[in-house]
């Protein structure tokens, strides 16, 4: 069982999707409970990973599975090559953890075409898990694109007024980026073959050892980096995000924020950075600048939003700026902060979208001006909302603090000192836009009569929020649970990038293809 745990976990939702397809479309309750059970079982299946101590001692890949998949003689070879290490571990856990919550959140919100909705959610889960565990670039690309299709339909069919525009924009932005990455993937592959390096299909561990001349690295890093930067999203490629977030149904926004955006940051950590370390060095100042712009710009725009969901969407841009800045610091603190902040953002922004969903279901509006004084009518909701708001701001004691603090500290101690200084103002901005929004929505007198009869959170809604709140405090108070399993993998990654930079200097023989990229 343990040998096939990862595969089983990844494809179990797909199996669930097939089951869902055979349930009659009229039976909404059964469809929802099936999806819930499937996602819960997937979560249970993933639990052994979280409790496995092997991640605390070794930073390598575990739970490996390897099968030859496509092998056409001297043309190319692709393998079903999967595994997890400390870096992907928590992202896998985040995915399996957030999915049952997302399904639960649809209980009353989705009433048309429940069958399609659930089937797409499950397909999406397989895509996301697959992307996190792929150790073969080709396999990764397939899962990466597979995520696109369900999300497109989730936004387009169940989204808000402007859903068509948002769905098409989301699709085209992401697909354009990934197509360029595809060219880069093929190029690296043939480069490796022609340079005679030992290869294992498109296996990234072999690619890590490849010495690619710096001229080619720049182009390849640009292709990979562009694709991931769209997904993160980094300024100025972020414009699809507010649209997609605002129009998507609650479950879609939650998954988009919690997991899909992490694909971009994860892509940097797993692929773009370790594959092209030399190019990375050149581009870090530019990328860090964009991250800081993202932080400041995202915060400022969030401040001015009249729609709560848009506000949360722009706050995502800012939060991911912290993640990227931490990662680009290229030291342990920064990396750890960035990685943890990925999880934090998943928990707290996911929770924020759920909260927006709660009030939208009650009032069918998300405009801040429509609300005010909700705390009187919904005390439990007010408490929950406040906790999540604090977590999003990064108040000490909550998860946001640990992540942002470490990311900024890492950046401060690396060559990005002044970037960190500027970025820190983003924390203050976050307090401004979040607290201001909270105040306008929750405090004061009830001015809008429509808010007089609002009901407090139902048992289902409390059940949805409790696990998220648990993690807000767990990560905030004792982040070591997470760090101890992350650290070995990150150390290994950083060491490997350093040694690669040294190795790249000793040039290997020029393969034929290199001449097309103007490489001296």
């Amino acid at each position: 069982m343990a040998d096939y745990l990862l595969s089983f976990m990844t494809f179990f939702p797909l199996l669930g999707m097939l089951v869902v397809l055979f349930i009659p479309r009229e039976n909404g309750a059964l469809l929802k409970s099936t999806a819930l059970v499937v996602t819960l079982i997937t979560f249970v299946l993933s639990l052994p990973l979280a409790f496995d101590d092997v991640f605390t001692v070794s930073g390598g890949m575990h739970y490996r599975e390897f099968y030859e998949w496509i092998n056409i003689g001297n043309y190319f070879q692709m393998n079903y090559n999967i595994g997890v290490d400390g870096i992907s571990l928590w992202l896998v856990m985040l995915t399996t953890f957030i999915m049952p919550i997302a399904v639960l959140s649809t209980w009353n919100a989705v009433d048309k075409n429940i069958k399609g909705f659930m089937a797409l959610l499950l397909l999406l889960e397989t895509g996301m898990l697959g992307a996190f565990i792929s150790l073969d670039l080709f396999l990764f690309y397939i899962f990466w694109e597979l995520m696109l299709i369900p999300m497109y339909f989730l936004i387009g069919i169940w989204g808000g007024k402007n859903r068509i525009y948002a769905a098409v924009k989301f699709f085209i932005y992401t697909a354009v980026g990934s197509l360029l990455m595809l060219v880069a993937i093929i190029f690296v592959y043939y480069y490796a073959i022609q340079s005679g390096a030992p290869m294992n299909g498109f296996g990234i561990q072999e690619f890590y050892r490849l010495a690619i001349p710096s001229g080619a690295q720049y182009w390849l890093f640009l292709a990979f980096g562009f694709s991931f930067a769209i997904k993160v999203p980094m300024f100025p490629l972020h414009t699809w995000l507010p649209d997609a977030h605002t129009e998507a149904p609650t479950a879609g926004s939650v998954i988009l924020a919690a997991v899909l955006l992490k694909m971009g940051t994860y892509g940097y950590v797993r692929f773009a950075m370790p594959l092209f370390p030399e190019a990375l060095q050149t581009f870090i100042p530019m990328l860090a600048t964009l991250s800081v712009i993202g932080i400041i710009y995202g915060s400022l725009v969030a401040m001015m939003q009249e729609d709560v969901k848009k506000l949360v969407a722009y706050s995502s841009v800012a939060h991911l700026g912290f993640v990227m800045l931490g990662i680009f610091a290229m030291n342990m603190q920064g990396m750890a902060g960035g990685m943890l902040q990925m999880i934090n953002h998943g928990v707290s922004t996911g929770a924020l979208f759920l909260i927006v969903g709660f009030i939208y279901e009650r009032r069918h509006t998300r405009l801040i001006s429509e609300f005010g004084g909700l705390a009187h009518k919904m005390p439990i909701f007010a408490t929950v909302f406040l906790i999540i708001t604090f977590s999003s701001i990064g108040l000490p004691g909550t998860n946001g603090f640990v992540g942002e603090f470490l990311a900024l500290m890492g950046a401060f101690e690396s060559g990005l000192r002044w970037y960190a200084v500027v970025a820190t103002s983003g924390v203050i901005f976050a307090a401004v836009y979040m607290l201001w929004m909270y105040q306008r929505v929750m405090f004061g007198k009830i001015t809008n009569p429509a808010n007089e009869n609002l009901s407090d959170l139902s048992a289902r809604e409390i059940v949805i929020m409790l696990p998220l709140i648990l993690f807000v405090f767990w990560i905030g108070v004792y982040p070591n649970t997470f760090f101890e399993k992350m650290n070995p993998a990150m150390e290994q990654l950083l060491n490997q990038m350093e040694s690669r930079q040294v190795a790249v200097v000793e040039q290997v023989e020029q393969p034929v293809m290199a001449k097309y990229l103007d490489i001296k």
Binding site: W69, I70, N71, I72, G73, Y75, F76, N113, Y141, I142, E145, L146, L148, I149, Y152, F153, G156, I157, R163, I164, A167, V168, F171, I172, A175, V176, L179, L180, L182, V183, I186, F187, Y189, Y190, V512, M513, K515, Y516, L517
Partner: protein, 486 residues
């Protein structure tokens, strides 16, 4: 006289033309059969044609790995030909499956329709196995003449008439160019044999600058480029594709196109091998032009058949990328892609066949509003085909494109691959738009006229199976494609 016959017979090797021979015989017999059937009864002819195709397929497969040459080396049945034969047979089979209910709905239940498809397929198979420019030309003519008739098959419909006539006039014109090219190459080399021309050109000291060689090669290419619908010889495709009966459009975009690619590849890579640099440069330009024109013009189409016509132009462009690569991966990539394209494009047209009302005026974007919800099976099927046409995993469209672009990148044409994938990005827009209408718009009609005709559904299911299997486990077929290149 007797001597002559003996000499001729000595070179005859019926084995080498067995597949097309069997198919032609079936076609001729079926012509007779349809005469004896009562008017309006075409189903038996359709089923017999399917049987004919299957038998031909078995005969073809029997020749795998046992190359046969015949008729003094003007025909060869090698793996390359067999691969294309199978592709054309699949195209014809899927087309026939979706045709019968369609012909009845449109009011033209005429039995000759099926033999004509068989003749077209036989012609396509001659083209794929021709090793003499004259054989290739003969195959091309058999294919074309049958297709002219099929395109204008609905003689009472103005659009169908226009399609037939336009195809005929432009087609005749392009074959003229081609013949002129053949004549010039004959003038240079003194032979029409593909291999002989290669030797003659290689022996020329100034092959790359010899005006006769250049003019001959160019004019010959024009004929093929016309058939595959590559820019700037694509002008006929939109009108013909839109006007022809939908199953014929589907067939035309897959079978004959594959055959034209087969002959084009054989002639180019064997006869014109010594002109590689120049031809590659020419193809580079044509590939970029074809992809770009096809994709950008498709964006503004509201008629789905016409949109698919422009999309088929762009797909010809992707296949041309494989020609530019001029390496084994590129070659076998084209073979693989033609098979993939057969499944995905014919599948998409099969859904349109069921969706159309009599006269098919409703096959526009507005005409599919909310279709996906009202007809879930057909909706999902069309989505799968469109995703495949976009080139998204896990469909065959992705593996096909991957194969071709991999060939180009390996040969160092990185910018061509970049232009290619950017073109795919453009194509996302118009394929997605069909889905936008199908799923994101509210239905205005109830689509009660859409009936799930058994045979058509079977062809859709086969196409889905093809698209998904070649997408998830492409290995075995890629291996076959690899074994098929010369």
């Amino acid at each position: 006289m007797e001597n002559l016959v003996q000499i001729a017979m000595a070179n005859v090797n019926l084995q080498a033309i067995m597949p097309s021979l069997v198919l032609s015989c079936f076609g001729m017999v079926l012509l007779l059969v349809s005469v004896f059937l009562e008017r309006g009864r075409t189903a038996p002819v359709a089923w017999l044609s399917i049987i004919g195709l299957i038998i031909t397929g078995l005969v073809s497969i029997g020749a795998w790995n046992q190359p046969q040459a015949g008729f003094a080396g003007s025909v060869v049945l090698d793996n390359f030909a067999t691969f294309f034969n199978i592709t054309c047979l699949i195209a014809a089979g899927l087309t026939i499956l979706m045709s019968d209910s369609y012909l009845h709905r449109e009011g033209y239940p005429v039995g000759e329709y099926y033999p004509l498809i068989l003749f077209t397929t036989a012609g396509a198979m001659w083209m794929a196995s021709g090793t003499d420019l004259m054989t290739i030309f003969l195959g091309l003519e058999v294919l074309s003449v049958s297709l002219y008739v099929l395109a204008g098959f609905f003689r009472g419909q103005i659009r169908s008439n226009e399609a037939g006539l336009k195809y005929f006039f432009l087609g005749a014109f392009s074959t003229g160019f081609m013949l002129y090219g053949v004549a010039l190459l004959y003038g240079v080399s003194g032979t029409t044999k593909v291999a002989g021309i290669a030797q003659a050109i290689a022996a020329l000291p100034d092959a790359a600058t010899n005006p006769m060689v250049i003019a001959g090669a160019t004019l010959l290419s024009v004929g093929f480029l016309f058939k595959i619908g590559a820019a700037p010889f694509h002008m006929w495709t939109p009108d013909v594709y839109q006007g022809a009966p939908t199953p014929i459009t589907a067939f035309m975009s897959a079978g004959p196109k594959a055959a034209a690619f087969a002959a084009f590849m054989r002639v180019t890579y064997i006869s014109l091998d010594s002109l590689q640099t120049d031809m590659s440069a020419l193809f580079w330009l044509l590939a970029v032009l074809t992809m770009t024109i096809g994709n950008f013009v498709a964006i503004s189409q509201r008629d789905i058949k016409r949109m698919l016509a422009y999309s088929s132009i762009s797909h010809a462009g992707y296949a041309l990328v494989g020609m530019v690569a001029w390496n084994e991966i590129g070659f076998s990539g084209i073979l693989f892609y033609m098979l993939v394209y057969t499944f995905m494009n014919i599948g998409a047209f099969a859904v349109l066949v069921l969706l159309g009302k009599k006269g098919e005026d409703n096959l526009t974007l507005d005409g599919v509003a909310g279709f996906g919800f009202k007809r879930p099976f057909l909706g999902v099927a069309l989505c799968i085909f469109l995703f495949s046409l976009m080139g998204l995993p896990p469909t065959a469209g992705f593996t096909g494109k991957f194969f071709i672009f991999a060939g180009a990148i390996k040969a160092g044409y990185i910018w061509l691959a970049v232009i290619g994938v950017l073109n795919s990005a453009v194509s996302l827009y118009y394929y997605l738009r069909v889905m936008v209408y199908m799923y994101f718009r509210d239905p205005v009609e109830d689509y009660s006229w859409v009936k799930l005709e058994m045979a058509t559904v079977v062809s859709i299911l086969i196409a889905i199976a093809g698209v998904l299997i070649l997408g998830v486990i492409p290995g075995p077929v890629m291996e076959l494609a690899k074994l098929s290149v010369f």
